[in-house]
C-alpha cells in the first residue's frame, strides 16, 4: 500500500526553467567581474617527460600579460594525506595534477598558466613559455603498466592498490558446476562528455579571502581543495557555484580554481580560466579503460554456484581508478555463495581518471552480464529467467560485505519480463535482442537545508547541491509535500559556501535522496514552529494543534499555511526551519535494459531499433526527471558501447580530442528511449527515494553486446563495438563456424 501524495509524483515545471530556456542562467564561463583577466593553461605535449627547464621570462614581458604561475608558486607545505570528497590522497598528488612539478605524467598535464587582458593574449603568451622536456617512455594500459619492466610514473609502483573480496570458498566451489564460462574483456577509456568545458573565476581579495565562482558538482569540495593546496583556512575561501553544464562525475575533481586564485594574487585582479574542448579531453575526466576476466559457474538449473573476477583498471596519472566500486558491483546483482574478486588500481600515462556515472560498474557489468548471457544460452534458459533465479534480494550478502536491505532487483527483472517490448517477437535478418541489468549502490553524505517562511505563504529554500538535472525541483517538492503547499510555492536557491551548511557533491545519485531528506526534515521543523504560532494565536497548547495537508487546526478552529504565514510577524517574527543530514541507507538502485539491434553485415554498423530502460527509483519524486536520468544514462551507455574511446597514439597522444572525432551519440543515432520506472521504496528515506542518476548507464554495453550476438552469432568482448570491430567479429565467427 503506497502512500498518497499531493506533490510527489507530479511533474511541475522546474524552478530554474525560465532562466535556462531564455539564456539568462549564468554558467561557469558566463561570470563577469570588473577588471576581469583571462587565463590560459600551458599543457604538456608529452605523455611522460621530465621538465628540465622552464623559463617564463619571454612570456612575462609580452604586452597584456599580468601574471604567470607554475608549480613553484604553490605554498610548499609538507606532504600529508587529505580527504577531498573522493577518498584519501597525498597532497602532492592533488597539487601535482593542478600544475606539474618535475615531471609531466600525461599529454595535457598543466605546466604553467598565464593571466592576460584577454584569452587570445594569454594563449599567445603561454606559447612563449620555454619548457625543455626530456621525454620518457610511456605506458598506456593497465596490463602493460603491471609488467615488471614497465615505465614507472611515481616513486611508488604503478599498481597502487590491490583490492580483494572473498565470500565462501574460492576455486574449489567450481567443481560442482554443470557449466562454467570464463571470458576476458577490454573496455576503452571514455569521457563523461559534458557539453560545458570546465570554467573557473577567482579573486584573491585585498582582505586575504579567496572568492571563487565556478561550475562544479561540489562547491564545498572546491573550497576544501583550494584551502588545502593554497594553505588557507577553509573560512578564507568562499565558493559560489554557477549553473553547471553537465558533470556526470567529471566535475567533482578540481583543475582550475587554485590556479586562477594564484594568478589573481599575483595580478591583483580577478582571473577567469575556461578550458578548451581539447583540454577537457586531454586533461580531465576520463573514466578508466579496463581489463577484466570473469568466470561464473552454474548448476544445471542455472543456479550460480561460484564466481571469480580479475579487474585491472587504469587510474590514469594518479592512483584512484574506480576499481573499488567496480569490485563492489561486479557480482552485486546476484546471490552467489562463492565469490572471489581481485581488483587492481593501475597508474598509466593518461589523464587522472574521475568518476563517471556509476564509476567502475559499467566496465564490470559489461563482463558479468555477457558471461551470464552465455550461461543462459548454454543451459537453454531465458536470460531474464536465469537472472531471476539468481537475483539478489533483501538479506543477500555482497562479496564486499554489506547485506542488502530492501532492494528492487527482482522487481526490475519482473518488469523487464512483463514488458510489452520483451513479449513482442523480433523478426528480420541481422536483428537480435539483448538484455542486461546493472547495480549502483548510491551514497548518502552530508547535506544541509534551511526554509524561511514568507508572509505570502511561500517558502524560500536554501541548499548547497549544485543543480545538474532539475534537483532544485525534486528537493523543493519534498519540502512542499510536508508543508502541504504547491511545488511552485517553494522557491529553491543553491547557495554559496558561506551561506549553507556543508553539503557533499552532487554525485553518487545522492542529491534527491540526501538533500531531499534535509528538505523534508527542515519542512518538519517549519511545521513544528507553525504549530507553535497557531497555538499562540489560539491561546492553546502546542500539543492541541494538528497539521494535515497545509491546514493547522485545533478543535473547531483551523488556519491554512498561507493565512498563518501572513501572521508570523505578530506571533513572534520569522520562521526558519533547518535540518542537516548525513544519512546511511542510500538504498542501491537496479536498472535493466531490453535492446533490439540490427547489424549491417557489410559494414558492421549497429543500429538501435528499440531500447527500453527499466529502473528502480524507490519513489519517483518528479517522474519526468527520473525518466530523463534513465534516458540520458542509457544513451551515454550506448555511446560507450558503440563508438566512444580515447584513440591513443603509441606515444600517448589522444588522436581524437574533439567532439567531431570523439563521437558521442547524436539525435539521429537513436530511437526514443522507452522508460519503465519501478518503485520499491527505500526504507532509508522518508518518501522511499532511491537515487536514480547512475545505475542506468551500467547495463547498456552488455545488453547491446548480447543483442549483437543474437543478431550475428558474434560475441564482442571489447569496447567500443564500433563498425570495424563488429565487422571483424562477424568475419571471424563465420570463418570458425563455416557460415558464409
Amino acid at each position: 500500500m503506497s502512500a498518497t501524495y499531493n506533490v510527489i509524483g507530479t511533474r511541475p515545471v522546474r524552478h530554474d526553467g525560465a532562466d535556462k530556456v531564455t539564456g539568462r542562467a549564468i554558467y561557469g564561463a558566463d561570470v563577469q567581474l570588473a577588471g576581469l583577466l583571462h587565463g590560459y593553461v600551458l599543457r604538456s605535449p608529452h605523455a611522460h617527460a621530465r621538465i628540465k627547464r622552464l623559463d617564463t621570462s619571454k612570456a612575462e614581458s609580452f604586452p597584456g600579460v599580468h601574471a604567470i604561475v607554475t608549480a613553484d608558486d604553490f605554498p610548499q607545505t609538507p606532504e600529508r594525506i587529505v580527504d577531498l570528497g573522493e577518498g584519501d590522497t597525498p597532497l602532492s598528488y592533488v597539487r601535482g595534477n593542478l600544475l606539474a612539478k618535475g615531471k609531466v605524467l600525461y599529454r595535457g598535464h598543466a605546466v604553467a598558466a598565464v593571466a592576460a587582458v584577454n584569452a587570445h593574449v594569454a594563449e599567445e603568451a603561454a606559447h612563449l613559455i620555454e619548457v625543455e622536456y626530456e621525454p620518457l617512455p610511456c605506458v598506456l594500459t593497465a596490463p602493460d603498466a603491471m609488467k615488471e619492466d614497465a615505465p614507472r610514473l611515481h616513486a611508488d609502483p604503478n599498481v597502487s592498490a590491490h583490492i580483494r573480496h572473498v565470500k565462501g570458498d574460492g576455486e574449489a566451489a567450481f567443481k560442482d558446476a554443470a557449466v562454467i564460462v570464463e571470458r576476458e574483456f577490454h573496455t576503452a577509456t571514455v569521457h563523461q562528455g559534458y557539453i560545458e568545458p570546465h570554467a573557473a573565476t577567482a579573486l584573491w581579495n585585498n582582505d586575504g579571502r579567496v572568492l571563487v565562482w565556478c561550475s562544479t558538482q561540489g562547491s564545498f569540495v572546491v573550497r576544501d581543495v583550494v584551502s588545502c593546496v593554497l594553505d588557507l583556512p577553509v573560512s578564507q575561501v568562499k565558493v559560489t557555484p554557477t549553473e553547471i553544464g553537465g558533470g556526470f562525475g567529471g566535475k567533482i575533481p578540481v583543475y582550475l580554481e587554485p590556479v586562477a586564485a594564484l594568478l589573481s594574487r599575483k595580478a591583483g585582479r580577478p582571473v577567469k580560466i575556461v578550458m578548451t574542448r581539447q583540454a577537457v579531453f586531454e586533461a580531465t575526466g576520463p573514466t578508466p579503460g579496463s581489463y577484466i576476466k570473469v568466470k561464473i559457474g552454474a548448476d544445471k538449473d542455472g543456479k550460480f554456484i561460484a564466481a571469480q573476477a580479475y579487474m585491472a583498471y587504469e587510474a590514469g596519472a594518479y592512483p584512484g581508478a574506480m576499481v573499488g566500486p567496480g569490485t563492489m558491483c561486479v557480482f552485486a546483482a546476484y546471490e552467489i555463495p562463492h565469490i572471489a574478486i581481485d581488483g587492481y588500481d593501475v597508474c598509466v600515462n593518461k589523464p587522472s581518471t574521475a568518476a563517471y556515472r556509476a564509476p567502475g560498474a559499467t566496465n564490470a557489468a559489461f563482463a558479468t552480464e555477457t558471461v551470464v548471457d552465455e550461461i543462459a544460452e548454454k543451459l537453454g534458459i531465458d536470460p531474464i529467467e536465469l537472472r531471476l533465479r539468481n537475483a539478489a534480494k533483501e538479506g543477500t550478502r555482497r562479496a564486499d560485505g554489506p547485506k542488502y536491505r530492501r532492494i528492487g532487483c527482482v522487481e526490475v527483472l519482473e518488469a523487464m519480463k512483463n514488458h510489452p517490448h520483451y513479449k513482442m517477437p523480433l523478426a528480420g535478418p541481422n536483428r537480435g535482442r539483448g538484455v542486461a541489468i546493472g547495480f549502483w549502490f548510491n551514497v548518502g553524505l552530508p547535506s544541509a537545508c534551511t526554509l524561511a517562511v514568507n508572509a505570502d505563504g511561500t517558502v524560500n529554500l536554501v541548499e548547497g547541491s549544485t543543480d545538474i538535472g532539475g534537483t532544485r525541483t525534486s528537493i523543493a517538492m519534498q519540502a512542499a509535500e510536508v508543508l502541504g503547499i504547491h511545488a511552485e510555492q517553494v522557491l529553491p536557491s543553491v547557495a554559496d559556501t558561506d551561506s549553507v551548511g556543508f553539503t557533499g557533491v552532487t554525485g553518487g545519485s545522492r542529491t534527491t535522496f540526501a538533500t531531499g531528506m534535509a528538505a523534508h526534515d527542515a519542512a518538519h521543523d517549519v511545521v513544528r514552529q507553525m504549530k507553535e504560532r497557531a497555538a499562540k494565536l489560539w491561546e492553546t497548547g502546542v500539543d492541541q494543534v494538528a497539521h494535515a495537508n497545509g491546514v493547522y487546526s485545533s478543535g473547531d478552529k483551523s488556519i491554512t499555511f498561507a493565512e498563518l504565514a501572513a501572521r508570523i510577524g505578530e506571533t513572534g517574527g520569522p520562521v526558519v526551519g533547518r535540518a542537516t543530514v548525513n544519512p546511511r541507507g542510500a538504498g542501491g538502485s537496479f536498472a535493466g535494459n531490453i535492446v533490439d539491434v540490427e547489424v549491417d553485415p557489410e559494414t558492421g554498423k549497429v543500429t538501435i531499433l528499440r531500447f527500453t530502460a527499466v529502473q528502480d527509483a524507490g519513489k519517483a519524486i518528479h517522474p519526468s526527471y527520473v525518466e530523463g536520468q534513465m534516458q540520458g544514462g542509457s544513451v551515454q551507455g550506448i555511446g560507450w558501447a558503440l563508438n566512444e574511446e580515447y584513440y591513443m597514439s603509441p606515444s600517448g597522444a589522444m588522436m581524437n580530442a574533439s567532439l567531431l572525432d570523439y563521437r558521442m551519440p547524436t539525435a539521429l543515432d537513436l530511437p526514443m528511449i522507452d522508460t519503465c520506472i519501478v518503485e520499491v521504496p527505500n526504507p532509508g528515506h522518508p518518501f522511499g527515494v532511491r537515487g536514480v542518476g547512475e545505475a542506468n548507464i551500467v547495463p547498456p554495453p552488455a545488453a547491446i553486446a548480447n543483442a549483437i550476438y543474437h543478431a550475428t552469432g558474434a560475441r564482442l568482448r571489447r569496447l567500443p563495438m564500433n563498425p570495424p570491430a563488429v565487422y571483424e567479429a562477424i568475419r571471424i565467427t563465420e570463418d570458425s563456424t563455416g557460415r558464409s
Binding site: 531564455t22 518528479h622 540520458g632 551519440p665
Partner: protein, 158 residues
C-alpha cells in the same frame, strides 16, 4: 594586435554595433563584447552546436563565424526567441516536457528547433532528428527534446 573593427548589424531585431578584433569569432563578440552569454561555447570548433544562432535566416555555429562577418547581417540568439515577457511556444514545450537537464545545450537546441519549425511546420521524427543532429546533448538522450519539438509542432498546427 590589429586595430579593432567597427561592426553594425541587427541582433534580436534591434540595431547593434560593436568593436571587435578581426580574429574574434561571432560567438566571442556576442558573449564577451555584447554580454549576450545565452549563446554557449562547448567546443569552439563547430561540432557541438551549443553556440547555434540564426544568421540572416540560416542557422550557423557562431564559433565558426568571425565577428566582422556580422557586418550588415541579422542575428537571432536565444535571448531573442521569447516574445517579450511571453516564452516562445518552443521554450514552453521544452519546460513542460523536461527537455533540458543541465541546460547548457538548450539555447542551441532552441535556436535550431525554431529554425526547423519556421521552415517546416510539421516535420517527421526522423526529420527532427536529422535537423538537430548538429546539436549535442549529453544529458537527455534526446528523447524529451524530440518530444518537445513534436508537441510544439502539433500545437502550432492544431
Amino acid at each position: 594586435m590589429h586595430a579593432k573593427v567597427h561592426v553594425q548589424c541587427t541582433i534580436n531585431n534591434e540595431p547593434a554595433e560593436f568593436l571587435c578584433e578581426p580574429r574574434q569569432s561571432l560567438l566571442e563578440c556576442l558573449r564577451d563584447v555584447l554580454g549576450l552569454t545565452g549563446t554557449k561555447e562547448g567546443c569552439n570548433d563547430g561540432n557541438c552546436g551549443a553556440c547555434t544562432v540564426m544568421f540572416d535566416g540560416r542557422i550557423v555555429t557562431s564559433c565558426l563565424v568571425l565577428g566582422v562577418e556580422a557586418q550588415g547581417r541579422s542575428i537571432t540568439t536565444v535571448e531573442g526567441i521569447a516574445r517579450g515577457s511571453q516564452l516562445h511556444p518552443l521554450q514552453q514545450a521544452f519546460l513542460e516536457n523536461a527537455a533540458l537537464q543541465c541546460g547548457i545545450c538548450t539555447p542551441g537546441f532552441l535556436v535550431a528547433a525554431k529554425a526547423l519549425l519556421d521552415q517546416e511546420p510539421n516535420p517527421s521524427e526522423e526529420r527532427i532528428r536529422l535537423f538537430l543532429a548538429n546539436n549535442l546533448c549529453r544529458c537527455t538522450g534526446y528523447d524529451k527534446i524530440i518530444r518537445a519539438v513534436q508537441q510544439c509542432a502539433r500545437e502550432a498546427n492544431a
